[in-house]
């Protein structure tokens, strides 16, 4: 979707404001790490006041006040990270919300009369009418009529789509525009409770709940905080024993530096950014948990049509029967399809057009020969035309064609029969053309696999996701397409309950399953799947059953969703590692500084050769503070995911964020000390 820079001016302003609002201890306590920083900041404030009042044991006022300011900044940075993530999500949501500004609607009252109402007055179950040019006021389901609809306001896709009552494409979204015809729509959600409203609430943080992994991580971070509370509290009697008095500022600084403030400050921003990324990919998630679960998916169910193959089958080849001229056969094939409105029929004419120069058919001339068209029926299972000269041309499946030929006393040529078998086993569909009871040849129809699918499936396989193709085709065809497209498994001749059973069987083995669906008969499977992505064009039932809705109706979107889920976890994990690894350098900065006056020997631990105890402590606290805003872009964008296998990713991230996390602060603190050391 629209790309935008990470920080936009208006967002930054509102986030800055929010950073102060979020200082409210009631809000802070949800984040134990940052809450500890807040307490430390308050203690420093008290110390500053006591120094002003004449307390001389705690060092200079300037030094204490600077520590206070840095701690305060640390708090604001943490809050800012969360606020900017929220602001970005909000901006994204606002742009969607614009689509649902107040419009007027024509409600159908119970007595059948129409009444002009505001869209906000519509309640669940109300019905309204929309005609060409109208903006649809609310999410709903078409109960009468068919219409072309412009959904570009939501999907950004300019081509209009068709929505009709009954079937799987009956759902309309508020804010989209009717381009033609007239529909009656029933409202499916209460005002303020549509999917979009829910999503907006999630992104804005109002109803955000911590995901299970986030809870576990918070526990771990709280544990690290506790360790450092123990370390700092016990340090007091240790220092007393060693006759090394420690100032309160030094204690608080040591404590704040050690507790994992970096990840603590960024944790909620990471979570919000994950949902925001999903929204940017035009996926509405109903909870943060769904995004996280997506990263764990083991099995992915994809419909063949529209996902793996482009729409419908297409004619790819003409094979004339023995003794039939190629030109005559193609002509017969085209004639048989001229009246055929199906995509398959159209593709035959397309193919002949592509061969136009070689064959030289004149379609309009041919059309003029037709006297009567014969539609496909379940009994004849053929379709075709009767020409003005009485010639009867039909095309159909092999068995139907064989019957016609044999009824007319003609043999079915064995060469053609072989060809039919060959095409079937290659995953194609053979159509036999008959002219006046004589077999003319076979047209081969093939599924066209979307380009780049094989690469995508390879990528999924490397992520550890097994792909399963679901199709109504016979097993032979299904197997061929599955192999060609590179999916790992397939369900052929699939009925809706087959999907459900497959999902259940995989889940029984402990696997997490994702699927996409649009139809009402997909709803149970969507609900059963761990991640169910409903197409926005799908029925209301499907949308209710899934835990995500894809506004673009793009079946390959699941791949992106899986990556977003993985990125979310990875960003948390790597920043935790980074945060903890930072402590090594901070120890080497602060511990010698604490004791150097009492135990000069500990100068040996001052491996960074920091200028003075005060500058060492200040440098460590400053580094600790500024690393938070420096990492905000990473938290918002997420750590890049590469499908190179779990061990390789671990190695890479351990090297970058673990080893890097140890080295970077040594350099950072030393550089800051070079500057700070000129004052302290």
């Amino acid at each position: 979707m629209k790309s935008q820079s990470l920080f936009q001016q208006d967002q930054v302003f509102s986030a800055l404001k929010q950073s102060f609002v979020k200082l409210n201890p009631k809000l802070m306590i949800k984040n134990p790490v940052m809450f500890c920083v807040e307490i430390g900041t308050l203690i420093m404030l008290v110390v500053c006041v006591s120094v002003l009042m004449g307390n001389t044991t705690e060092g200079s006022f300037a030094y204490n006040f600077i520590i206070f300011l840095i701690l305060f900044a640390t708090l604001l940075f943490g809050n800012f990270a969360e606020a900017i993530a929220e602001a970005r999500g909000k901006a994204q949501a606002d742009s969607l919300r614009k689509t649902r500004e107040e419009t007027s609607a024509r409600q159908i009252l119970e007595n059948g009369t129409l009444r002009e109402v505001k869209s906000s007055e519509l309640k669940k179950g109300d019905k309204f009418v929309c005609e060409n040019g109208d903006t649809i006021p609310m999410d709903g389901e078409i109960i009468e009529g068919i219409a072309t609809i412009d959904e570009s306001a939501i999907t950004g896709e300019s081509a209009p789509v068709i929505r009709e009552a009954g079937g799987d494409k009956s759902s309309v979204t508020g804010g989209t525009k009717v381009l033609s015809d007239k529909i009656v729509v029933q409202v499916t959600s209460e005002p303020g409770e549509s999917f979009l409203d829910k999503m907006i609430a999630l992104v804005e943080g109002a109803s955000r709940q911590k995901t299970p992994n986030e809870i576990a991580l918070t526990i771990l971070l709280a544990a690290f905080t506790l360790i450092f509370i123990i370390v700092c509290v016990t340090l007091k009697p240790f220092a007393d024993y060693a006759n090394a008095p420690i100032t309160i500022a030094a204690f608080i600084s040591l404590f704040v530096c050690l507790i994992p403030t970096t990840i603590g400050g960024l944790l909620s921003a990471i979570g919000i950014a994950g949902m925001d990324r999903a929204l940017r990919a035009n996926v509405i998630t109903k909870s943060g948990k769904a995004v996280e679960t997506a990263g764990d998916i083991d099995v992915l169910l994809l419909d063949k049509t529209g996902t793996i193959t482009i729409g419908n089958r297409k004619a790819t080849n003409f094979y004339p029967a023995p003794g039939v001229n190629f030109h005559d056969f193609v002509e017969a094939a085209v004639l048989s399809s001229l009246a055929d409105e199906t995509p398959e029929g159209k593709s035959i004419i397309e193919l002949s057009n592509q061969m136009h120069s070689d064959i030289g058919l004149d379609i309009s001339l041919l059309t003029s020969h037709i006297s009567q068209t014969i539609k496909f029926t379940a009994e004849t299972r053929t379709s075709g035309v009767i020409l003005k000269d009485g010639t009867d041309i039909r095309k159909g499946a092999q068995d139907a064609a064989r019957r016609i030929a044999e009824n007319a006393g003609n043999a079915f040529p064995p060469e053609t029969s072989d060809k039919v078998t060959e095409i079937s086993s290659n995953g194609g569909t053979p159509l036999v053309v008959i002219k006046n009871g004589k077999v003319q040849g076979v047209i081969e129809l093939q599924d066209i696999i979307k380009t780049g699918m094989k690469e995508r499936f390879d990528r999924l396989r490397k992520m550890g996701v097994k792909t399963v193709m679901v199709t109504g085709d016979n097993p032979l065809t299904a197997k061929f397409i599955a192999e060609k497209a590179g999916v790992d498994d397939f369900i052929a001749e699939a009925k809706p309950e087959d999907k459900m059973n497959y999902i259940k069987a995989e889940q029984q083995q402990g696997k997490l399953v994702a699927m996409m669906g649009d139809g009402t008969n997909d709803a149970p499977a969507l609900a059963q799947a761990d991640v169910g992505v409903a197409m926005n064009s799908g029925t209301q039932a499907a949308k209710e059953a899934g835990n995500m809705v894809d506004l673009d109706n793009d079946p390959t979107k699941l791949i992106e969703i899986v990556e977003i889920g993985k990125q979310l976890l990875m960003t948390r994990g790597t920043l935790t590692t980074f945060s903890i690894a930072n402590d090594v350098a901070k120890y080497f900065a602060i511990v010698p500084a604490l004791f150097i006056t009492a135990i000069p020997a500990l100068q040996g631990l001052n491996i960074m050769r920091l200028h003075s105890p005060e500058s060492a402590i200040l440098s460590a606290v400053i580094f600790n503070a500024i690393i938070i805003p420096l990492l905000i872009p990473l938290a918002l964008r997420g750590v890049a995911y590469k499908p190179i296998g779990a061990s390789a990713i671990l190695q890479r991230n351990l090297l970058i964020y673990g080893l890097g996390g140890i080295i970077v602060p040594f350099i950072g603190i030393k550089l800051i000390d070079l500057a700070v050391g000129t004052f302290f």
Partner: protein, 570 residues
């Protein structure tokens, strides 16, 4: 190469070589497979089960298993406490040694129940032979408790989804009969032949060259010393522990005692590999432990061989830092022993740790602060298991997948328990030391707790004094039992505070892993996929090592800086 160094290699190498088949034997024993000892021990075990009314085939869930373990340990504690309180008037007391004071009996009983053997007394004068036998019994069963607890965790890791995790009593008895008894018997025989006494007679008298009559304490020492090492207990028969010439007569017995104490901690890791049929996992774990061990051993050996810089300054040539060491072992072997005994929770000593160089003292402390490089009998793996859980959690997030270990998801509950156990160790060590340091800093009158002022319990001022106090609590929390010595520790203050630390530091870190394993065992099994992080790889080993190292470093750096590091740089 220095022959003293080459002496260390076979001791270490042979321990590993022996541990692999022994680990296989342990695995087969607890898998219920046939072993060559069956004909000998089956009848004995069946007799024990029959007398005590135990159905060895009755499977327990993790809570029942835990209750059985805690219950029987409580019983042993009470029994031992009363024996020590009254030993003076009980039989088998040829030297007429007195009964223990209540606080010392409390400390000693706990200390032996928890496999620590922190000894605030000297065996020669502080215990009757009945007391010694009581403690010897505890040395067997406390080691067996550790093994049986680890076996439950093994079992929980093996089965796909279950709450049936074996029978505690059966595993306890088998640990004694199949593992501890046979090996102890062999080791005791070797020691007895090398000159360690094995008698119930009282003190012997000899007349020295100067014509003085000297009394020499003796007793059933060979049997005691064997299980003291095999069960990673470390409680010496004599006060001087394995530095005593009768407890550890020569270089060969020194090697035997090292082999014996390293055997089970090593073998338990290999047993895990055989038990789960995941040998690679065991090798990775063993590799991580060995790297950690070597990182502790090498600086220690180097600094002990380098000699004491203070003596160096006086211009005196030295064969390593020999203060507080036995000439028959030499500096490098004593240095090696000091780390071996602290990484595994034996805590027997063959030289004074108080007299080792500052860097060595630092390494000995670190070994116990980490407490999971090999570790004690059975419990070493349990401690390591906690770090595996934490490493799995963090690295699982790092690779973008909800963390899982051997097909089980690690979620908030497991992280909560693991984090709590990981915090407990620094909490006990640091708060104990803080309490003692607080008393010493103010030099308070201690009243009933200690006769006189608090600094009276320190033999050294400054950093070294601090190290002594830190060492005592670290040794207690690690259930190690070695002493830095030089600390006046037989008084209510030290007996009671370390007693409490011992108790908490033993059972909570056993309960934690058992609970996690029990919870995981009942979870749904998830098959491995390409996205799953494998735990039997080098990179995961590196991750686990990093987690262990960083938690230890972050928790203890300030304390070490004030103790041995301040001395080292001074």
């Amino acid at each position: 190469m220095n022959t003293e160094i080459t002496g260390i290699i076979p001791v270490f190498g042979l321990s590993i070589l022996a541990a692999i088949p022994f680990g296989r034997f342990i695995a087969r024993t607890f898998l219920g497979m046939k072993t060559f000892l069956d004909p000998v021990f089956k009848p004995i075990e069946n007799l024990i089960f029959k007398i005590s009314g135990i159905d060895p085939d009755c499977e327990m869930n993790w809570k029942q298993y835990l209750k059985a373990m805690l219950g029987v340990n409580l019983l042993w504690f009470v029994l031992c406490f009363f024996v020590l309180l009254t030993q003076g008037s009980l039989p088998l007391n040829p030297d007429a040694n007195p009964s223990m004071t209540p606080d010392l009996a409390f400390n000693t009983a706990i200390s032996f129940v928890v496999n620590c053997d922190l000894q605030h007394y000297s065996g020669e004068s502080g215990l009757s032979y009945l007391g010694q036998l009581m403690l010897m019994f505890l040395q067997f069963v406390s080691a067996a408790t550790g093994i049986a607890s680890a076996i439950m965790v093994f079992r929980a890791m093996k089965d796909k989804t279950t709450d049936k995790l074996g029978n505690f009593f059966s595993n306890l008895v088998k640990s004694c009969t199949r593992i501890l008894l046979p090996v102890s018997l062999i080791v005791a025989l070797v020691l007895a032949f090398q000159g360690t006494p094995m008698t119930f007679e009282g003190k012997d008298k000899i007349i020295t060259l100067q014509g003085d009559e000297v009394e020499v304490s003796r007793g059933p020492a060979a049997a005691f010393v064997a299980i003291k090492h095999l069960g990673t207990n470390g409680g010496g028969f004599f006060g001087a522990n394995s530095a005593h010439p009768l407890e550890n007569p020569n270089y060969f017995t020194n090697a035997v005692e090292l082999w014996t104490q390293l055997l089970i901690p090593f073998a338990m890791i290999f047993a895990l590999g055989f038990y789960l049929n995941r040998k690679k996992l065991a090798y990775v774990i063993f590799g991580v432990m060995t790297v950690g061990f070597l990182l502790l051993v090498i600086p220690t050996v180097v600094s002990e061989m380098g000699g004491n810089p203070a003596i160096e300054k006086m211009g005196i040539a030295q064969a390593g830092a020999m203060e507080g060491k036995e000439v028959r072992f030499g500096a490098p072997m004593t240095a090696f022993w000091s780390i071996a005994t602290t990484v595994i929770s034996t805590g027997s000593v063959n030289g004074m740790h108080d007299s080792t160089m500052a860097m060595s003292g630092n390494m000995q402390l670190l070994a116990m602060m980490v407490n999971c490089f090999y570790g004690g009998c059975g419990v070493g793996f349990l401690n390591f298991y906690i770090f595996i859980i934490l490493a799995v959690f963090i690295s699982g997030l790092m690779v973008g997948r909800t963390p899982e270990f051997l097909g089980k998801k690690i979620e908030a509950r497991e992280v909560k328990i693991a984090a709590f156990i990981a915090i407990l160790h620094p909490l006990l060590i640091l708060s104990g030391t803080a309490l003692a340091a607080y008393c010493a800093a103010g030099d308070y009158e201690m009243g009933w707790w200690f006769s006189g002022k608090a600094t009276g319990w320190l033999n050294n001022p400054g950093s070294h004094g601090f190290s002594e106090m830190l060492y005592e609590y670290t040794s207690s929390a690690a259930n190690n039992g070695s002493g830095f010595e030089g600390l006046g520790d037989n008084n209510p203050f030290w007996n009671i505070t370390t007693g409490v630390v011992l108790l908490l530091a033993r059972f909570i870190p056993i309960i934690g892993p058992m609970a996690i394993a029990g919870l995981l065992a009942s979870k749904k099994f998830i098959p491995e996929s390409a996205g799953t992080l494998k735990t039997d790889t080098t990179i995961f080993g590196v991750m686990t090592f990093a987690v262990i190292a960083i938690i230890a470093a972050l928790s203890f750096f300030p304390a070490l800086a004030l103790g041995p590091l301040a001395e080292y740089f001074g």
